[in-house]
Amino acid sequence: MISAIAIMALGAVVLGALLGYASIKFRVEGDPLVEKIEAILPQTQCGQCGYPGCRPYAEAINKGEADINLCPPGGMEGVQRLADLLGREVKPLEAEEKPKAVAFIDEQTCIGCTLCIQACPVDAIVGAAKQMHTIIADLCTGCELCVPPCPVECISMPQITENLDNWKWKYPVIELKKVA
């Protein structure tokens, strides 16, 4: 009887120590779900969701504070993927989905005020005070944050047009032709 209790107690102590050790050794830093949510978000850092960046929005989704349909750059596809990940209901996007665009600075009009450089969350604008600025189109995420600060309204957001580099094969569709 005593020995049985002793064995059980010993087992409990050993296992408890093991678990305690494991919980320290293999501790997961941060919430892995936030990482997964963030991976789905488009990283435009545009703040259109009402949060100051993609990470805060991911955290808000994780806490259940924010809905999954607040990210216009992610589009309906992003909503779908978030819904799949989180097991939530698919909802229509809050704002309307816009075609992809990149910022363009009219260099004739630019006065070199650096306000857009400060606004750009992804360092996609080069320039210096009283020098012309320009957008590095490859780095621009199309977040439009540089548009409102510009005092001379020289930034426009032209849509990305299809070219040989970004052209994709289309989903095969059979054209239905009217016969007679």
């Binding site: 990283q43 850092q45 993609c54 969350p121 992804v122 360092d123 970004n166 989903y171 095969p172």
Partner: protein
């Protein structure tokens, strides 16, 4: 005799090659306009070196290679550059690409060509020469040839495979090239052999081209080379690089590796020919042999200039009245040319005029019955029916699990599908979607990294600024403390010597003179100055200074007033007093004076 190996799958479509081999290669007449696209090979896009209005000579460089994996572009004939503008490309999308439009002057005047004996040059110079001459893989992939001519340092080069299989139906350009220009092909292979130093050189030709095999064998014998010219069984796609390597060497290139990892390199016969012309004749790639066949009166092979518009080229073959479109490439892997003014490019090996009888419109797609025919014919041993299923459902992760990127889009599966499903279309769609997503993902990751750097940078700057401010404030405080200490110390020292305060600093004087509370303990007790007293003294001194400053600021406009003005002010003040308002500060200030 070498024993041949087999690759799995494959199909035997009707070859349709006899139509275009009856006549020899003819040189196509100069077209009225040439549209030379600058981006014709895999890799970087060459930048234009000419401007509108420039006169160019035949073979003049008009686009320099951009980066190592890129190939130069040359003027196909002498003439005038009309424009450098976007022009419709020979591409299934029908989109435009930057092209140089040249109006030929009819003289066909060459640049100065310098024949070079490549044996005297170091290998890297030969590779550079090929790059500058725009030599690319003419089998259809247009990969810059010089990029494939560096032998692996770790794997010994066993076999050099020269691809003359030409397995696609209708196409005969390589066949005719081998028949008519066998010697130059073999000499070109010699360049590749000298650069790569393989143990063996194997030239594979499908056995439906006995004339080409005989011509190459004769040329090999004549030049005293040890190349093996081998007829391989005719079965599509024997001309695929991996398939031909399998047939000739028995080596199977794994999906994650390249043939060079196994010590094998593969080139097309036409590439060898152009390499020879480029190196020893100084002629860059400005023309190529194109098969014009299908629904035309005179099917044959033409040596056509790169940039010839499709409309002018097909006129040479006199298309029949019911022609309804033109395919570039073969019927298995080719695509319909998007416009009649799209140019011929380095990748154009064949133009097939189509008609409703030649290529009847496809019957509608039926559901997949999972018969497995596609898997039987797939030369890469994939499972097209599974890949189709997942591509159709946009489940791209699953398609990758089924190795969609090993698919060479040969079209065997679509060819045998009893439900007439355009399987290759689905695979192309899935592949380009996966590529686009990967690109987007990479861009998003980089944007995130840049955003994080920016936030970190801003925070660091803020911290640095705060630190700087704190440091300045601390310095200020220390200075004040020192001053106050001096102020407190001075009277203490002075009180012993003289009753009159020593005038060490002005501040100390005021502090001592105007604040008896602060000075008294110091003078009376004669104790060592403690910090608190010093602080108190400093505060009091500052307050006194402020008061003195305030007192010093007097309205200055009331000085030196005339008698009349003073009288006026006095009158106004009297009125004000009557009304119960205090006298004006001016009058108050004047009082002591008057």
């Amino acid at each position: 005799m070498l024993s041949l190996f087999k690759f799995k799958g494959g199909v035997k479509p009707q070859t349709n090659k006899t139509q275009s081999v009856s006549e020899p290669i003819a040189v196509a007449p100069l077209p009225s306009r040439l549209f030379v696209p600058l981006h014709q090979s895999i890799g970087g896009t060459p930048q234009p070196l000419v401007q509108a209005g420039d006169r160019v000579l035949k073979g003049q460089l008009i686009g320099a290679a951009d980066g190592w994996i890129s190939s130069a572009v040359h003027a196909p004939t002498s003439g005038t550059v009309r424009t450098i503008a976007e022009h419709v490309a020979a591409h299934p999308s029908g989109l435009t690409t930057l092209s140089v439009e040249i109006e030929p002057d009819g003289k066909d005047e060459w640049i100065e060509r310098t024949p070079i004996d490549y044996a005297t040059l170091p290998p890297e110079r030969v590779r550079e020469l090929l790059r500058e001459a725009g030599v690319v893989g003419l089998g259809g992939a247009v990969f810059p040839t010089h990029g494939k001519l560096t032998a692996s340092k770790t794997v010994p080069m066993d076999e050099l495979v020269i691809n003359g299989a030409e397995c696609e139906p209708f196409i005969t350009c390589d066949d005719l090239l081998m028949r008519e220009r066998a010697e130059e092909v073999i000499r070109g292979v010699g360049i590749f052999r000298d650069l790569l130093q393989p143990k063996r050189v194997l030239i594979g030709i499908e056995d439906n081209k006995p004339e080409a095999v005989a011509a190459l064998q004769a040329a090999v014998a004549k030049l005293g080379e040890k190349f093996e010219v081998i007829a391989v069984p005719t079965r599509y796609p024997a001309g695929g690089a991996k398939q031909l390597i399998r047939v000739l060497t028995g080596k199977e290139v794994p999906s994650t590796k390249r043939s060079t990892d196994l010590g094998v390199q593969c080139f097309n016969v036409a590439t060898a020919y152009t390499a020879w012309r480029a190196v020893t004749h100084g002629e860059p790639v400005i023309s190529r042999i194109v098969t014009l066949t299908g629904n035309v009166e005179r099917p044959r092979n033409w040596e056509a200039l790169i940039g010839t518009p499709l409309s002018e080229f097909v006129a040479l073959g006199q298309p029949k009245a019911d022609t309804n479109g033109y395919l570039m490439g073969g019927p298995m892997m080719g695509f319909e040319m998007p416009a009649m003014d799209a140019p011929l490019v380095k990748a154009t090996n064949c133009i097939i005029a189509g008609s409703p009888t030649l290529f009847p419109p496809k019957a509608p797609e039926m559901p997949c019955i999972r018969c497995g025919e596609c898997a039987k014919v797939c030369p890469h041993e994939l499972q097209p029916f599974e890949m189709y299923w997942f591509s159709r459902a946009h489940n791209f992760g699953k398609t990758q699990e089924y190795h969609i990127f090993d698919c060479i889009e040969c079209g065997c599966c679509s060819f045998v599908c009893p439900s007439r499903i355009p399987l290759v279309q689905y695979f192309r769609f899935a592949k380009s979607e996966i590529w686009a997503r990967e690109k987007e993902k990479n861009a998003a990751d980089q944007a995130k990294a840049r955003f994080e750097w920016k936030t970190e940078r801003e925070e660091r700057e803020k911290a640095e600024k705060a630190e700087k401010l704190a440091r300045a404030a601390a310095a200020q405080a220390a200075k004040k403390a020192a001053e106050a200490a001096a102020a407190a110390a001075t009277p203490a020292a002075a009180s012993d010597a003289t009753p009159e305060p020593a005038t060490e600093t002005a501040v100390a004087v005021t502090a001592q003179a105007l604040l008896p509370a602060a000075t008294e303990p110091a003078t009376t007790t004669d104790a060592p100055v403690d910090a608190e007293a010093a602080k108190k003294a400093a505060i009091a001194a500052a307050m006194e200074r402020a008061r003195a400053q305030r007192a010093a600021i007097q309205p200055k406009n009331t000085e030196n007033l005339t008698l009349l003005q003073q009288k006026d002010i006095a009158a106004v003040d009297a009125l004000r007093q009557q009304a119960g308002i205090e006298p004006s500060p001016a009058a108050e200030a004047e009082e002591p004076k008057s």
